[in-house]
C-alpha cells in the first residue's frame, strides 16, 4: 500500500481509472473542472479516451455511446451541468446502462436533484456521498461496481471541499464480487445474423425478437428500485446508545458533525449521529431506529432544507425534526461558507440540546 498526497479531484480520477473506467466526457465548471483535467491526462495513458465535450448534453451522450459498447464510462459536472443532462439521465436508466456520474456540487443544494432526479419518468440513481477523500476513493470504485451490478446509473456526490483539499490516500484497485458478462452490449459483430442487438431506453427489440414493448419494459425496469433499496443502503451511525438527541448529516459536512458530536459526548452530552452514505436508497430504517425515544432529530445540511424531508419520512413523527443547517457559501457562490465550521455547528447543536432557538 502506498499513500500519496492528492487533491480529492485527482484521487477520484485515479479511483475511476483503477475501476477500469476508460471513457470520460465533460465540460469544465467549478469545482468539477479538476476532475476533468486529471482524467484528460490520465485516461490516454491507460488507453482510454477523455473528451472535452461541447456541452454537458453531449458529454452524457458520448458516455452513453461508450457504455453501450460495454466499456466503463462516466461523466460529471456540478449540479448546474447535471441539470442539462437530465433527459439523458432518465432515459439512460431505462436503457439500463451502467453510467457513473460525478456531481462535484457547489454545496449541498443538489440533494433533491440527486435523489429525486430532475428528469422525467420513474427513475432513480444510486447516490453515494463520501465525507472525505479516502472514502471518495472507495465509493468511486464502488460506484462503477454497483452501476454494472444493477445496470443502473450511480451518482457520486462530491463538493468543493472534496475537490480542492488534499489528503494522503492509497488508490489501489478494490475487488468486488464477480459480475455477469455484458452480453447486451453492442460491438457491431452481429449485423446480418438475425441476432443483432439493440440498446434502447424504449425496450424495443428487433421485429424477429420484439421484446415486450414500451410499457412492459418500464414495468420490468422499475422494480429494480425495490431490489436496490433492499440491498444497497449504506449508513454510518455513532453514539446512538442512550442518545437524547441525534444529528443527521451527509457528505463533507457530516465529518464536521461527527467531530462535534464526538466532542460533546466527551463532555457528557447525550448526542449521537446518523450519516447517510447512500442518499438513495436512503437509510430510513437507521433514522427510524435512531429517532426512537429521543428528544430531537437535528438535520445539518448546507442548503435550504432538502434532506430534512427524507429524515422526516424516516422519523415518522416519533421525535421533533429540527433543521440546523442553512444556505452558506463564499462570495463566489461555489465554495465553503461560514456555516461549515466546527464552532458554528457546535453552537447550533448545543442550542437545540438546551431547548433554545437555533441561531440564524
Amino acid at each position: 500500500m502506498t499513500r500519496r498526497l492528492m487533491e480529492g479531484s485527482e484521487a477520484m480520477a485515479e479511483a475511476a481509472v483503477a475501476s477500469g473506467c476508460r471513457f470520460f466526457a465533460g465540460y469544465p465548471m467549478t469545482p468539477f473542472t479538476e476532475l476533468l483535467e486529471h482524467l484528460a491526462r490520465r485516461l490516454p495513458e491507460v488507453g482510454g479516451v477523455c473528451i472535452n465535450a461541447e456541452s454537458e448534453l453531449e458529454a452524457v451522450g458520448m458516455a452513453w455511446g461508450a457504455l453501450a459498447t460495454g466499456a466503463r464510462a462516466a461523466t460529471g459536472s456540478t449540479g448546474q451541468g447535471l441539470s442539462l443532462m437530465q433527459e439523458s439521465f432518465s432515459e439512460i436508466t431505462l436503457a439500463e446502462l451502467p453510467l457513473v456520474v460525478f456531481n462535484m456540487a457547489r454545496g449541498q443544494s443538489d440533494y433533491f436533484q440527486a435523489t429525486r432526479g430532475g428528469g422525467h419518468g420513474d427513475y432513480r440513481h444510486i447516490v453515494l456521498a463520501p465525507m472525505d477523500i479516502a472514502e471518495a476513493v472507495e465509493l468511486t470504485q464502488l460506484a462503477f461496481h454497483l452501476a454494472d451490478r444493477w445496470r443502473n446509473p450511480v451518482l457520486v456526490y462530491g463538493d468543493y471541499l472534496l475537490a480542492h483539499t488534499a489528503e494522503a490516500v492509497d488508490v489501489s484497485p478494490m475487488t468486488f464480487a464477480p459480475l455477469p458478462p455484458k452480453d447486451w452490449a453492442v460491438d457491431g459483430s452481429l449485423g446480418g445474423t438475425s441476432r443483432s442487438r439493440t440498446v434502447s431506453s424504449l425496450g424495443v427489440g428487433k421485429v424477429n425478437r420484439p421484446g415486450g414493448g414500451i410499457p412492459a419494459h418500464f414495468e420490468a425496469v422499475v422494480p429494480k428500485q425495490a431490489a436496490i433499496t433492499a440491498e444497497e443502503v449504506r449508513v454510518e451511525t455513532g453514539f446512538l446508545d442512550d442518545a437524547q438527541h441525534v444529528v443527521v448529516a451527509f457528505g463533507t459536512p457530516a465529518k464536521f458533525v461527527r467531530y462535534v458530536v464526538g466532542q460533546l459526548r466527551a463532555e457528557g452530552v447525550h448526542v449521537g449521529f446518523v450519516r447517510p452514505i447512500s442518499l438513495w436508497p436512503f437509510p430510513y430504517e437507521a433514522v427510524a431506529a435512531a429517532a426512537e425515544g429521543v428528544r430531537s432529530v437535528m438535520v445539518f445540511e448546507i442548503n435550504g432544507g432538502q434532506m430534512v424531508d427524507d429524515v422526516r419520512i424516516g422519523v415518522q413523527g416519533k421525535a421533533p425534526v429540527v433543521s440546523i443547517g442553512g444556505i452558506s457559501t463564499d462570495g463566489s457562490g461555489f465554495g465553503v461558507g461560514p456555516l461549515l465550521d466546527v464552532e458554528v455547528i457546535r453552537g447550533r447543536v448545543e442550542a437545540v440540546v438546551s431547548g433554545q432557538e437555533v441561531p440564524a
Binding site: 451522450g61 455511446g65 449485423g191
Partner: protein, 308 residues
C-alpha cells in the same frame, strides 16, 4: 362536384401478381414497414442497407438512431444498434466510435432531429472530424409529430405551424445543413442526394458508398443528406410527393457532392458518376457565399441530370 374515390388494399399483393424477383436487402428483417404510402424514408433505408451489404461491413457496423418516423427502422435493421434520444445521435455515435475505433459507425437522423434539436451535436462532431458517417433523412418537416416546420423547411412551405407558408420575415430562413458542414475542416465527405426518382436513388447510393468508404479510409466525418418524400407532412397526395419535392425542397437543398477528399477511391472515379474534381478538397471558400454555384453540382441538382 363529386370525386370518385377507391381504396386499394395494400396489405397483400393483388391476386394477379406474382413475385419475379426477391430484392429485399439482406439487412432488412422484414419486407414490411410502418411508414405512410409514398414515404421516402424506406427508400433511403434500402439505399443504406444495400450499401453496407455491398461493402461487406455488416458484421462490424454499429447504427445509432435518432427519433423521428425512421425510428421504426431500429427494429427492422439487422444491425447492432443504439437508440439515441431526439437530436443526440452524433454524441452517442462519438462514444461508440471512440471505444470501437475499427468498427463502422453511422447515425440516421431526420431534419428535425439533426438540424433543429441537435444542431450543435452534428456541427461539433463534424468539426472534431469524428470518424463516423451521419445520414440525414431530410423531408423538411417533423413528420412524426404531424407535419410541423423544421429548420430545413423552405420559404413558402405550408406546415401545421406555418399555415400560410413559411415566411422568412416571421419564421426565418432554412438551414442548408450540408453546406454548413462542408465548411468545417473536420468533414471529409459531404453530399446531398434524394430518392424522388430512380436516377436520384442511383446517384444517392453512390454518395452513401463514398461516404462509408471515406470513413473506412479514416478521413474524418462523412455526411450524406437524403431528401425524402413526406406526402403526409406536406399535405399533398401520395403520388404528387416526388414532384412536390423536386419543386420545393429540391430547389433549395440542391443535390450534389459538396465535398470530397482528393484521395477518394479510384473505383468510384472510374464510374464517373460523381465528378470528384467538382470540389477538390471542398474548402470553406467554396461555401462562403452560402449559395451553391451551379458548377458545384456535377450532374446538376434535381432539375438536371438526376436521371442518369
Amino acid at each position: 362536384m363529386t370525386a370518385e374515390r377507391s381504396i386499394v388494399p395494400t396489405g397483400s399483393p393483388p391476386a394477379s401478381a406474382h413475385r419475379v424477383a426477391e430484392l429485399t436487402p439482406d439487412l432488412l428483417l422484414t419486407e414490411e414497414h410502418q411508414m405512410c404510402p409514398g414515404c421516402g424514408e424506406p427508400l433511403a433505408l434500402r439505399v443504406l442497407l444495400d450499401t453496407l451489404s455491398q461493402l461487406g461491413v455488416a458484421q462490424r457496423t454499429v447504427a445509432v438512431m435518432g427519433i423521428g418516423c425512421y425510428t421504426s427502422f431500429s427494429g427492422t435493421m439487422d444491425l447492432d444498434l443504439v437508440q439515441a434520444l431526439h437530436g443526440r445521435a452524433p454524441s452517442v455515435a462519438t462514444g461508440v466510435k471512440r471505444m470501437l475505433p475499427d468498427r463502422v459507425v453511422f447515425t440516421m437522423q431526420g431534419d428535425g432531429d439533426m438540424v433543429n434539436e441537435g444542431l450543435q451535436e452534428v456541427v461539433h462532431t463534424a468539426a472534431r472530424g469524428e470518424s463516423v458517417t451521419a445520414v440525414l433523412l431530410n423531408n423538411g418537416v417533423f413528420g412524426e409529430t404531424g407535419g410541423h416546420m423544421t429548420a430545413t423547411s423552405v420559404i413558402g412551405q405550408r406546415t401545421k405551424n406555418t399555415l400560410e407558408g413559411r415566411d422568412a420575415e416571421y419564421h426565418g430562413h432554412p438551414i442548408r445543413i450540408g453546406d454548413l458542414l462542408a465548411t468545417l475542416d473536420g468533414s471529409a465527405y459531404v453530399a446531398r442526394g434524394s430518392v424522388h426518382n430512380a436516377g436520384a436513388v442511383a446517384r444517392t447510393k453512390r454518395m452513401v458508398r463514398r461516404a462509408f468508404e471515406s470513413q473506412l479510409r479514416g478521413e474524418g466525418f462523412s455526411f450524406v443528406e437524403i431528401l425524402t418524400m413526406c406526402p403526409t407532412g406536406w399535405f399533398v397526395p401520395t403520388a404528387e410527393g416526388p414532384g412536390y419535392m423536386d419543386d420545393t425542397l429540391g430547389q433549395v437543398h440542391t443535390m450534389g457532392e459538396l465535398k470530397a477528399r482528393p484521395g477518394g477511391g479510384p473505383s468510384d472515379h472510374a464510374s464517373g458518376a460523381l465528378a470528384p474534381e467538382a470540389r477538390p478538397g471542398g474548402g470553406p471558400s467554396d461555401h462562403a457565399s452560402g449559395a451553391l454555384a451551379p458548377e458545384a453540382r456535377p450532374g446538376g441538382g434535381p432539375e438536371g441530370g438526376v436521371g442518369r
